[in-house]
Amino acid sequence: MRSATESIKMSYPEGFSMGTITSFKKNYKYLLPAIPMLLFLIIFFVYPSVIMVKYSFNKSLLYGEIENTFTFENYINFFTDPFYLKVVWRSFVLGFWVTAITIPFGYVLAYAMWTSKGLKRKLLYFCILLPLFTNLVIRLYGWRILLSPMGPINGILKNLGFTDSGFSMIYTKPAVVIGLVSECAPYYVLILFSVLTLVNPRYIDAAYDLGAGKIKTFFQIIWPLSLPGVVSGGMLTFIWSFGAFATPTILGKPIHWTPAIHAERQILSIRDWPFGTAIGMSLVVIVLVILFIQSRLTPKVHSQRT
C-alpha cells in the first residue's frame, strides 16, 4: 500500500496539486462547498450591518420609537458635540499609550519565543494562549483584585511601610492602560512571532561574520526585517484599544469610556437606537480609515528564506 502511493507520488512533478488541474477548466464549481459559509455571513453579518447603517440615518422619537426617514442628524450630533469629540480624542490617547507599551514589551516576548525551541517554546506558547483564550472578564476580575485598595499590591506596600491607607490604583487611567496591554499583547506577540519566523537566519550569520555586534545586528538586521509585524501588530493593538469595551468599563471611570461603551449605553440603556448605531458606525469608519492608512504605510511582508 505504502510503496504504491509513494510510486504515484514520484511520478508527478514537485508542487503538483488538484488545483492545477481544475484551474485549467475555468469553472467555479469548486466553490460549492463554501456556499453555506457565505450564506451564513451574508444573512447574519452583511445584512444586519446594512440594517444597522439604515438605522443610523433614522430619527428617534420619544420612548424608543423610530421615525423612518433619512437624516444625517445623528452623525452631526456625534461629530459636533464637544463631549463626544473629547471621548474620541481620549480614546486615541489611550490607544497611543497602550500601543507604545505593547510594542517593546511584546517584542521581547516574541523574540524569546523565536530564539527558543522545544519545551521552552511550547511553554511560552502556553503562557500566551492561556490568557488569550481565558474569558476577558476573568482577567479583568484578576486585575480588580490585584489593584483594589485591599488587594495584594497595596497589602505588600503597606507591609513594606510605603503607605498606611493604600494607593488608589483602580479606576485610574494607568489601570485601564495596563488592562488593555494585557488584553492586546497576546495577539501582537503571535503576529510578530509569525513575521520573525520568516527572517532568514543566514542574514544574521552574515552580520556576525562581518563583525557586527549583538546590538548592531539587532537594529540593522532583525528590527528592519520584523518591522511589518511590528506595524500590523501595533495597528491591531491600537484599533482594539480604541474600540475597547470591557476594560474601560471595569477598570475605569466614565471619563475613560470609549465610543464603543457610549454606543452600548445608547442601545441597551437609553434605547436611542438611531444615535447608538450612528456612534457604532462612526467607530467602524474611524477604524477603516486607520486600516487604510496602515495598508499604505506597511512594508510588504515577504519571506527572506531561500
Binding site: 504515484i8 488538484m18 457565505l38 500566551i128 476573568i138 486585575w143 471595569i250 437606537w273 457604532g280
Partner: protein
C-alpha cells in the same frame, strides 16, 4: 515556523547587561499576561468571605459551595448549550469552505472569499452585537440560545476556517485521486478518505470553537435574555460590585476549561498550529 534554529540565539549566550535588560522586559510582560489569572486562582482558596490580602485560612470549600448556587449552575449550563450550538454550526459551515478554498489558494476570487470570511474577526464585537441585536429582534429570535450561538459563530467560524485551511493544506490530494481511481465519487472520497485523515484537525477546531464560545461575553451581552444568560455575562455584572472567593472559584472552573482545551489541542495537532499563528 521551521526546524532551523535561528542563530540569533547566540546573541543571548553571554551573561551581560543586554541579557539582564532582556530578561527584565520578559519577566514584566509575562507578569502582565499571567498575573491576573494566577491571582484569581490564588484568591479562590481564601477562607474569608470578602477578598482582602493576605489570603488566609486556605480552603477548597468555595469550589463545592458554588455548585449549590442555582444561578451559577443555570448560567453554566446555558454556556454549555450555546457553546455546543456554536461548535456544531461553525464546523458545519466552515469546514467545507476551508476544504474548497485550501485547494485553490492562489486564485483571485478564492483569495477574496477567504479574506471576506475572516472579516467578522476584524469588527469590534460591540458592532457585531448591535447589528445582530437589531436584526434578530426583527425576526423575533433575540434572546434565544440560537441567537447567541449565531453571534459566537461569527467569531468562531473564521478561526475554525483558518485552522482547517492549514489542516487541509497539509493533506496530500494524491489519496483522493487514488480513491477516485478506485471508483469513489466526490462525496464518498470526502467522507471516506479526507475526513478520517483530517480528524485530528477537526477535533482541534471543535475545541477552539467551544472554548471561544464559553469565554465570549460582549456579543452575548447584547443578545441574551434572562433565561439564556451565559456565565461570562453573569460574571460581568457580578464582578462590578463584588470581589469574593466564590466568584474566583467559578472563574477557576472556566480557566480549567481553557487549559483542558489547550492541552487537548496540543496533544492532537500541537499547540503551535492553532489558527492565529504563523501558518494562518
Amino acid at each position: 515556523m521551521s526546524n532551523n534554529k535561528p542563530p540569533a540565539i547566540k546573541i543571548l549566550r553571554h551573561f551581560d547587561w543586554h541579557r539582564l535588560t532582556f530578561n527584565f522586559f520578559l519577566t514584566v510582560v509575562l507578569f502582565i499576561l499571567l498575573v491576573p489569572i494566577l491571582i484569581v486562582v490564588l484568591s479562590s482558596f481564601s477562607g474569608k468571605e470578602h477578598l482582602s490580602w493576605p489570603f488566609t485560612d486556605l480552603t477548597f470549600r468555595w469550589y463545592f459551595e458554588v455548585l449549590n448556587r442555582p444561578l451559577w449552575v443555570k448560567t453554566f449550563i446555558n454556556s454549555l448549550i450555546t457553546a455546543s450550538l456554536t461548535t456544531v454550526i461553525s464546523l458545519l459551515v466552515a469546514t467545507p469552505a476551508a476544504y474548497a478554498l485550501s485547494k485553490h489558494k492562489g486564485k483571485g476570487e478564492a483569495g477574496f472569499i477567504s479574506s471576506f470570511i475572516t472579516w467578522p474577526i476584524m469588527m469590534p464585537p460591540v458592532i457585531i452585537g448591535i447589528a445582530l441585536l437589531i436584526f434578530l429582534s426583527r425576526i423575533g429570535l433575540r434572546g434565544s440560545y440560537f441567537a447567541i450561538a449565531i453571534g459566537h459563530t461569527l467569531w468562531a467560524a473564521p478561526l475554525v476556517f483558518i485552522t482547517m485551511v492549514a489542516v487541509f493544506e497539509r493533506f496530500n490530494p494524491i489519496y483522493i485521486m487514488a480513491a477516485k481511481d478506485l471508483g469513489a465519487n466526490d462525496i464518498q472520497a470526502f467522507m471516506k478518505v479526507t475526513i478520517p485523515m483530517v480528524k485530528s484537525g477537526i477535533i482541534s477546531a471543535m475545541f477552539l470553537a467551544f472554548v471561544i464560545s464559553t469565554q465570549e461575553f460582549i456579543i452575548a451581552l447584547f443578545l441574551h435574555s434572562p433565561s439564556t444568560i451565559t456565565l461570562p455575562v453573569e460574571l460581568y455584572t457580578a464582578i462590578r460590585d463584588e470581589l469574593s472567593p466564590g466568584i474566583s472559584a467559578i472563574s477557576v472552573y472556566m480557566i480549567g476549561i481553557v487549559a483542558a482545551g489547550l492541552f487537548v489541542i496540543d496533544r492532537v495537532i500541537g499547540i503551535e498550529n492553532i489558527g492565529f499563528s504563523g501558518k494562518g
